[in-house]
């Protein structure tokens, strides 16, 4: 659970970086954006593979996570992408069970998934500020899943519809499906149209 929130946070930070890179002097930096996209992909994999608390208890050898005590680690295959069928079937109703566990799980999020117990004290100060945003973002899990699948599909998914400065990277993708509205993300799945601050920023990108 903590890993999903951590992954969620990293996804939002990464998307912010990609968004900001559009206005950077000197054009889009290919190297940096590639690295950010790799982080985004890793976070997506963790996000989609980390089972929700309900499933965690059923038959899992690892005890359920306690507040302040991060779990020993995600399932061994956290680096592997989940089967496409599971991804497409990402359920929306998962949101309600998360909410009660939210505040407690958030407290426990202070370590990298691969280094449980190694506290990241630099994040301590940021917790209160991040907490409020995370609470708001929790409500939008369904949209997050859509966005993650969009951005995680490929490197070019991030660079589609980038400004003229990014044309050199996007030159291979002009044959991709175009959305009717300008500025919307090109993707196979229906593009989200909900109006909320977070996804509006992504749609603008």
């Amino acid at each position: 659970m903590e890993f999903k929130l951590e992954a969620h946070r990293i996804v939002s930070i990464s998307l912010g970086k990609i968004y900001n890179s559009r206005g950077q002097r000197g054009g889009i930096k290919l190297h940096k954006n590639l690295l950010v996209s790799l982080v985004l992909r890793s976070a997506r994999q963790v996000y989609l593979s980390d089972p929700c608390p309900g499933l965690y208890l059923a038959g899992s050898p690892v005890p359920p996570p306690q507040p302040g005590e991060p779990a020993a680690g995600p399932p061994a295959g956290w680096g592997e992408p989940p089967p496409p069928a599971a991804r497409a079937a990402w359920p929306e109703p998962e949101t309600p069970p998360e909410r009660p566990a939210g505040p407690d799980a958030r407290r426990a999020v202070d370590a990298e998934p691969a280094a449980p117990g190694a506290g990241d004290t630099l994040q301590g100060g940021e917790e209160p500020a991040g907490g409020a945003a995370a609470e708001e973002e929790e409500m939008e899990t369904g949209n997050v899943a859509n966005l993650i699948s969009i951005f995680g599909s490929s490197f070019s998914g991030l660079l589609r519809k980038s400004p003229a400065g990014g044309r050199e990277e996007a030159e291979a993708e002009e044959s991709g499906p175009e959305a009717a509205e300008p500025g919307q993300i090109c993707c196979d799945q229906p593009v989200l149209r909900d109006i909320n601050p977070w996804s509006t920023a992504i749609v603008a990108f």
Partner: protein
Amino acid sequence: MLGPWCSPTGSPAPLSCETGCGEGSWILVCRLLVPTQVSLLSMEEDIDTRKINNSFLRDHSYATEADIISTVEFNHTGELLATGDKGGRVVIFQREQESKNQVHRRGEYNVYSTFQSHEPEFDYLKSLEIEEKINKIRWLPQQNAAYFLLSTNDKTVKLWKVSERDKRPEGYNLKDEEGRLRDPATITTLRVPVLRPMDLMVEATPRRVFANAHTYHINSISVNSDYETYMSADDLRINLWNFEITNQSFNIVDIKPANMEELTEVITAAEFHPHHCNTFVYSSSKGTIRLCDMRASALCDRHTKFFEEPEDPSNRSFFSEIISSISDVKFSHSGRYIMTRDYLTVKVWDLNMENRPIETYQVHDYLRSKLCSLYENDCIFDKFECVWNGSDSVIMTGSYNNFFRMFDRNTKRDVTLEASRENSKPRAILKPRKVCVGGKRRKDEISVDSLDFSKKILHTAWHPSENIIAVAATNNLYIFQDKVN
């Protein structure tokens, strides 16, 4: 430290094998600011320019982002030291000559020449601005009285000639002293112009401009040992140039995939072998190094050797890929080893062993648990460089908080030093620094959370034959020297 460093005759003694980085016997020789700041200060405070170079000044608000040093490089004799900055300017410092009266002043560097190498440009076709920041400077070996260097920004490489002029012709027949043409009717006598001494003037002229060959951002340039060619590398391609030909270059490496969706790695640095003009290496964002032989084929997409260390699964995290990206690769002077720098370590590889490095040095492993925060503030993308000393026995690289680290490959000892005004006086021995990782913090130690991540040392240089180092800290250039006993 043992062994004589600079014999009185001025020719540096060869570095003995007992040398190492020791217990901090480095002294600060001088701290240099870019000349515009020096002149502003001298106008305001009426201080002799030489004193400015040697004294310590309080903080001032003149430093701008354009003054941030982006590259540092000694020339092949170590007499000259070039810096490039974000504003596109190149400043060359020259070592002060040996003088009997002031023996202790040898080793100091003073401004020799300043010129604007690159200007900001706008690519109208792609609607993007091209930064004037100097990414790299590389010197050519000296072949006549003039000095030549290559400087590059993201898109264009330029060859500059730096030459001295200390004589001026006087007594022309057809023009007057100001250069204006004289009325032929007034000329009644004939004379031979003579060369008269004048104040030394150093002028820099662009001799070649190598443009329009890179779609992506140039990250490296490297002069070949044949002194006739050089290469420039961007994120996806490496081009080979002849110094005489500016309108075309050979593409020798191209890793751009047919479908950009399949892009998984980029080129991060490239360098020619110091002796074999057919061999070069390039590093990737995946932490691998490829060695290529230009004799094998025209396009060196197939490497001759492939250096990669298997990943340690216990260190896996969201940011494993970022921290394994190599930011710099350097051949040893001997040509037998290569050194690579990734975010947390420096590694030395033997060219004959591809499956793992022969040495790994931890630069600042205490940052491993802070990677998420460093990702947030973008520090994780910082590209640190690394350098060898003249005898390949010591390697050096930078860190945060104006710290830089030296690793002695023979004694396996390492030292952390700081380049900052507050903590060093001229000619005083630098005190080794220590970062406290956890638990009780001892006196003089600094805790990880107190580190200033805005003060980063990305660029350093080591004199080719002496123990003199140049360390760039934001807009300051520090010159340190091994203490002469």
